[in-house]
Amino acid sequence: MSRKWNLEKMIWLLLIIVSLIAAILPIYIMFKYSVSDRSSWITGGKYPVPWWPFKPTFDMYRYYLSDTRFWSSGILSLNIALLTVAISMVVGAPAAYSLARYKFNGKAVLLFLILSVRLFPDISSVIPVATVFNMDFLYNLPLTLKVALAHSLLGLPYVIFIAQGVFETIPVDLEEQARIMGASRLYAFTRIILPVALPGLAAGAIYVFLLSWNEFVFSYFITATSSVNVLPLPVYLKSLLGSFSPNPVTIATLSLLVSMPVIAFTLFIQKYMIAGTTAGAVK
């Protein structure tokens, strides 16, 4: 009996290790290339690319961290992401509160509308969005705002689902007592509920931040069809991939620099990421 259990456990352990390697390997390769010296990637076919560079070097990091083009792209991406967070939180959090607390006609329709944003093919919706943003009367809108408006559309469903979950965990008694003592709904919401919900909402904000930071399709189509010098980071990275013979060290370093904030945040907001990805799928 216990032997069989051991065998099962061994298989489980083996599979866990294999899965962990599968999940980490690309990240490891990325890191390895980013610290490679020249002879570790230009092999001339005499020896295979080593799994660890002969002489690890951080030169490329030093280069990028003093590169103005990288910094201006990074700051553009940061601004877009922050603006996206601001727009989708301001618009989404109150809606999520009402969805969590009230029953009303048309609630199902509203939830369906929110969910359909996520199912609608972004590659189709990006055509009219990019076209409208390039029309004469909108052309001079700052790029940051254009991209952030598009990203907010994608981020809203996540904010609403995550925040709705957060508000549902807060006992109703809290605001009922406030209202008995004479607070208006708005007052109860802003002064009593919001502060309690803040940690959960912050996780939602981080989720949307990452969504915007990683987003490629809208950023790419909007920047590709208008003349801009500074590109958001993912689009900048893609422009390097398209060049004739891309330097792996450059690509790997930039890739890692783009992913770094994401990897750090993900480990922090695991729990809420789960809420965001499974919302609407299991309920």
């Binding site: 092999t43 009402s98 590659i123």
Partner: protein, 336 residues
């Protein structure tokens, strides 16, 4: 909230000191004609639920406005013929006719279909495996789960970049398969060009897609697994069932709702996939890549929009038929 909203409204009015205006308004309503009374009633209703309206309206308007713009312009563009970046004809279905007849569109459609056909079940399998692996208590479970989630967090462009590095000529994978590392046997004796052969390039983009999105299916299936009551396993175990029997006769049937939702959601995602085939198989476009080609490179928003609309139609048809198929299979598998 259990309270009557109109009562709350009165309390609110009293607190605001504006209660006097209410009877006056009511009196006016009685004298007014019916149509106006209706509007006033609606207005009163809106005012009564002011908080609800004002919290929901911005989000509702935001999404609706985008939807209206997207639907209107997508349709308008698809009915406009462009030549050399200039409008040639409007209110014409020339774009659709051109597409239906073109070999390029047909092969792109076929590629997309194959992409969906492979990626969707593969993601179910990898997601199920990961979910089962993680669905027990062990030390470091949180960390393992965090690592399993990493593929989802990393920007898609970065994933494609790493795959490009790994599978390009002179990269790790070609050397590995040629047996240049002494711990791995050589399988082929020439350098495989992963990126310039259609099946391999498409397969690579499928691999990337599956790697990246496995965490999503894992999470949905994990939620499904955790909702299964442990008593059922205990009951089966007392009757002497093995863990393999447990899996096939308890876990799998009870997991069917989660599996269905994974298949439906993942197939929609696979239909609209853009970035992996775009970077890894640009010469063998799927529908999404074709949209980019026409919109960005050929300055032909008309054709791009027509493809976009056809993609939406295809997704709808695909989802409906997948749902139908799943229902059939469920009624075949689970007999109550």
């Amino acid at each position: 909230m259990g309270q009557d909203p109109s009562l709350q409204y009165y309390i609110h009015m009293i607190l605001q000191g504006t209660v006097l205006t209410v009877p006056l308004k009511g009196g006016g309503e009685m004298e007014a004609d019916r149509g106006r009374g209706k509007i006033q009633k609606l207005w009163a209703e809106t005012k009564k639920n002011g908080f609800l309206v004002w919290t929901l309206l911005p989000g509702f308007l935001y999404i609706t406005a985008f939807f209206v713009i997207i639907a209107f312009f997508l349709l308008k563009l698809s009915l406009t013929e462009y030549r050399g970046g200039m409008v040639e004809n409007s209110a014409t279905i020339a774009n659709y006719l051109k597409l239906v007849q073109s070999e390029e569109f047909r092969s792109a459609f076929l590629r997309t279909f194959i992409f969906v056909l492979f990626v969707t079940p593969l993601q179910l399998l990898t997601g199920l495996l990961a979910a089962i692996l993680i669905n027990r208590t062990f030390i470091g479970r949180g960390i393992v789960r965090g690592i399993f989630l990493l593929p989802l967090a990393i920007p898609t462009v970065v994933t494609t970049a790493v795959l490009l590095l790994m599978f390009s000529k002179g990269g790790h994978m070609t050397s590995l398969l040629m047996g240049e590392y002494n711990w791995f046997p050589g399988i082929v004796d020439y350098e495989i060009a992963f990126l310039s052969k259609e099946p391999l390039a498409l397969g690579l983009s499928m691999l990337g897609k599956v790697w990246r999105d496995t965490p999503i299916s894992m999470l949905i299936l994990l939620a499904g697994l955790q909702s299964i009551n442990n008593d059922q396993y205990e009951a089966a175990r007392t009757m002497g069932s093995s863990s393999i029997q447990n899996f096939f006769f308890i876990t799998l049937p009870l997991l069917i709702p989660a599996i269905s939702s994974v298949l439906v959601l993942r197939s929609i995602e696979a239909w609209k996939e853009f970035i992996f085939p775009y970077i890894l198989a640009p010469s063998y476009p799927v529908l999404g890549v074709l949209i980019e080609k026409y919109y960005v490179q050929l300055f032909d928003p008309g054709t791009a929009a027509a493809i976009g609309i056809m993609l939406i139609v295809v997704i709808m048809l695909g989802t409906v038929s997948l749902n139908w198929l799943l229902k059939k299979m469920q009624s075949f598998l689970v007999k109550v």
